[in-house]
């Protein structure tokens, strides 16, 4: 009995001590999280059950009405979700492939590789708004550089890029595919952690470069591949800045670049300022992203190598 009591006392003492340190190290971040993340999340959830508009001081509780309206009646909600999905999946695929290829190239041992790494990282530090504005000019159907180059190669039926509702989303996907910066770094870090002796052994065994890639490189970087897939999907689904610039903040032309975050923003902050409805849409979208992420976690069982020990 006495032992039990003293053990309990010891646990309480340690817990208090640990707790003190826990608060000391995480306190400020925790306050920040509670104020700027947790509170807005809870507030959004509450708002989603009201008919609140920005200027309304007394919002009414409307139950599931906002959710049901978005699912049953709002065609633009469905369109924006569909376009966000297409954008996230297609641009995500391009980003993943580009970042992996570039990471493989930048992992090679050539002179001045540091300079190349810096050059490839540079686009990442430019804000998306500026990137969008520059690309908008580059893709201008009449005066842009891209079409001028295409016409030099004899292309007669020049694409209209972001001007046509048929190709605007595709143009945006192309531009966003340049956003490989951080993902490339993640792959590069993973590639550099693969011990050289594995490749040496493979070469001794007579493995070709393709075999080395599929048998050694790819399996060993699958945890990072999975991490990048999650990152890219979430980035793609919540893409805002580029779509805002490309679509004049309104999904132009003809709602063809209307991604979900833009539609949510328009609903909340343009006339008639339906904050409650936008909050409900945000929660529905959260559920979609969550479902996507869970599917990816499930799928990761089949391609992510476990228990990798690199020595």
């Amino acid at each position: 009995m006495t032992t039990k009591k003293s053990k309990w006392k010891q646990f309480k003492k340690n817990f208090r001590k640990d707790y003190r340190y826990f608060l000391l190290f995480t306190g400020i971040a925790l306050i920040g999280f509670l104020l700027f993340y947790f509170y807005p999340i809870v507030r959004t959830l509450i708002l989603s059950f009201t008919n609140k508009n920005i200027f309304d001081t007394n919002a009414e509780f409307v139950g599931w009405e906002n959710y049901l309206y978005a699912i049953k009646h709002d065609k633009l909600f469905a369109l924006s979700i569909k376009q966000s999905m297409i954008f996230a999946l297609v641009s995500g695929f391009f980003v993943l492939v580009t970042s992996l290829i570039l990471a493989l190239l930048l992992n090679s041992k050539v002179k001045g590789i540091g300079v190349f790494r810096t050059i490839y990282m540079l686009p990442f530090i430019i804000p998306s708004f500026a990137v969008g504005a520059v690309y908008k000019n580059l893709f201008n159907p009449t005066t842009g550089l891209i079409n001028q180059v295409l016409s030099l190669f004899g292309v007669t039926n020049l694409p209209l890029w972001h001007i046509s509702p048929d190709s605007a989303l595709f143009t945006m996907i192309l531009i966003s595919s340049m956003g490989f910066g951080v993902k490339m770094l993640v792959f590069l870090a993973a590639l550099q952690s693969i011990p050289e002796h594995l490749y040496e052994a493979a070469r001794v065994e007579g493995a070709s470069r393709t075999q080395q890639f599929f048998k050694i490189t790819l399996p060993l970087i699958t945890p990072m591949l999975f991490f990048n897939v999650i990152l890219i999907t979430i980035d793609g689904l919540r893409a805002f800045s580029l779509a805002f610039v490309m679509g004049n903040g309104q999904g132009w032309p003809s709602n063809s670049t209307l991604l979900f975050p833009i539609y949510m923003f328009m609903t909340a902050f343009n006339m008639p300022f339906r904050l409650g409805y936008a909050a409900a849409m945000a929660w529905l979208f959260f559920l979609i992203i969550l479902a996507f992420t869970l599917i990816q976690f499930f799928a990761s069982r089949f391609y992510v190598e476990k228990d990798i020990t690199l020595e």
């Binding site: 200027f55 009646h73 159907p141 005066t143 694409p159 046509s164 032309p253 328009m266 343009n270 008639p272």
Partner: protein
């Protein structure tokens, strides 16, 4: 050591609390009212604020470029809030009813303001804001471009020697188009020139054509929850809107969506006219050193009695959370009155007072603007307030302009059948309203 630490902590806490405490104290300053203005207004009205302080002893603290929505959302809005005839319906829960203050003040007359504007700011008999400056659709023209193409315009309009080539108050769409075509050069190597702009990011131009041709967006005598866009008038208006950008050489005088992307604009100096341009850009045209003037909007052929363009107004109301209602109202009277209007006129804003034209005429010549002010007030008199429907701008942006865009593009994704597109818009808008309100 422990005591030192405690003292140090206390000192740090007090230092951190100081700004917060100062903020609290300043909030209770009874001799100050707050107003939030646009970023470009920074410093413009300091003289007016000083005048108010001189009259009342109360200072006006202005903040610039802050989002009023966010301020209201965080319950940190100023005493005086900017609104407009367009968003008053959505903003009214944040604003107090000014009617009791207006009725209790014999020195203030609501009848001094232009009637349709006052009506737009009055909901269920309650006045929520006082108008400060007007916005109306006008025909803007670049005089330098007209001078440059004088011979071509004279020939196109069959003008006698001595007759002005500039747009006239009795212009019809025919003259508008002929002059526009005479200044247009869109084929061959650049630079290209166009007779008029095409408004695709905003509904104003198309909507005014519809209105002037006798069409209606909402079905008349309904509660603005049903549209009929397949009437002859709307089809004619949309066809004119399309042809001026998509028609063949000799008809076309505006850039289409493809050409708009190449920065063909009035501001860039290669487009001669804007049909339905608004007042807010006067300052920027001057900064760009454009040689420009204004005229009333041209009318459809055979419809000289057609209405003008849109009429709206910026307005200011008092926050429901303001503790300085009386002081705020006194400032509003000055702000929306003659003194405020004349100050705003210096920056290209036109007050919503019935006597505004007389007040401008009283100004010394150096403060006058070398513009067709008679034309401006004629345009105000014939303009029409936008329908009061809280979803109007959303509908226009998301359903109407997005579909009309397809008529204005050359290439993939284009539509050419005006009636088909109008039918689609009509169905989309009506379905939207049915999903919100049923068949009411």
């Amino acid at each position: 050591m422990k005591r030192r630490l405690i003292k140090l902590s206390l000192l740090l806490s007090l230092l951190l609390l100081c700004p917060a405490l100062t903020g609290c104290v300043s909030n209770r300053n009874v001799n100050e009212i707050k107003i939030a203005l646009d970023i470009e207004d920074d410093g413009r009205y300091d003289e007016l604020f000083a005048l108010y302080k001189e009259q009342t002893g109360i200072s006006v603290k202005a903040t610039y470029g802050q989002d009023v929505g966010k301020l209201i959302g965080t319950k940190d809005e100023p005493d005086i809030i900017k609104t407009s005839t367009v968003i008053i319906e959505a903003m009214k829960p944040s604003l107090i009813d000014l009617s009791p203050l207006i009725n209790a003040d014999p020195s203030f007359k609501l009848t001094d303001y232009i009637d349709p504007i006052v009506e737009a700011l009055t909901i269920d008999g309650k006045v929520y804001a006082l108008p400060t400056s007007l916005n109306t659709s006008l025909l803007y023209y670049n005089k330098a471009m007209f001078d440059e193409h004088e011979d071509a315009i004279r020939t196109a309009l069959e003008l006698e020697p001595g007759e002005s080539v500039y747009p006239q108050a009795d212009w019809t769409y025919d003259e508008f188009q002929k002059a526009g075509v005479a200044m247009t050069k869109f084929s061959g190597p650049p630079p290209h020139y166009f007779g008029a702009e095409t408004q695709l990011n905003w509904w104003g131009e198309w909507y005014v054509y519809v209105q002037q041709m006798g069409g209606n967006f909402y079905v008349p005598n309904t509660n603005n929850h049903r549209v009929n866009l397949t009437s002859d008038e709307v089809i004619a208006a949309t066809t004119f809107f399309r042809n001026k950008a998509m028609g063949p050489e000799g008809t076309k005088f505006s850039p289409n969506a493809n050409e708009m992307a190449s920065a063909n604009s009035f501001s860039a100096g290669n487009v001669a006219m804007i049909f339905g341009g608004h007042l807010g850009d006067w300052f920027s045209y001057d900064v760009l050193e454009l040689d420009w003037d204004i005229q009333v909007l041209p009318k459809p052929i055979g419809r000289p009695e057609a209405p003008g363009g849109e009429l709206s107004a910026d307005a200011f109301g008092i926050s429901v959370r303001s503790k300085k209602v009386e002081a705020s109202f006194n400032f509003l009277k000055l702000w929306a009155g003659k003194e405020g209007a004349l100050k705003m006129y210096e920056f290209g804003k036109i007050g919503a007072l019935k006597n505004m034209q007389e007040y401008i005429a009283e100004l010394p010549s150096e403060k006058q603007k070398n513009l067709n002010i008679d034309g401006l007030f004629a345009a105000i008199n014939e303009a029409i307030i936008l329908p009061r429907e809280q979803d109007f701008s959303k509908i226009m942006r998301e359903f109407v302009m997005s579909e009309l865009y397809k008529l204005m593009i050359d290439g993939r994704g284009a539509e050419t059948d005006v009636v088909l597109v109008l039918n689609r818009i009509q169905n989309n808008v009506n379905n939207y309203y049915i999903s919100l309100y049923g068949n009411n």
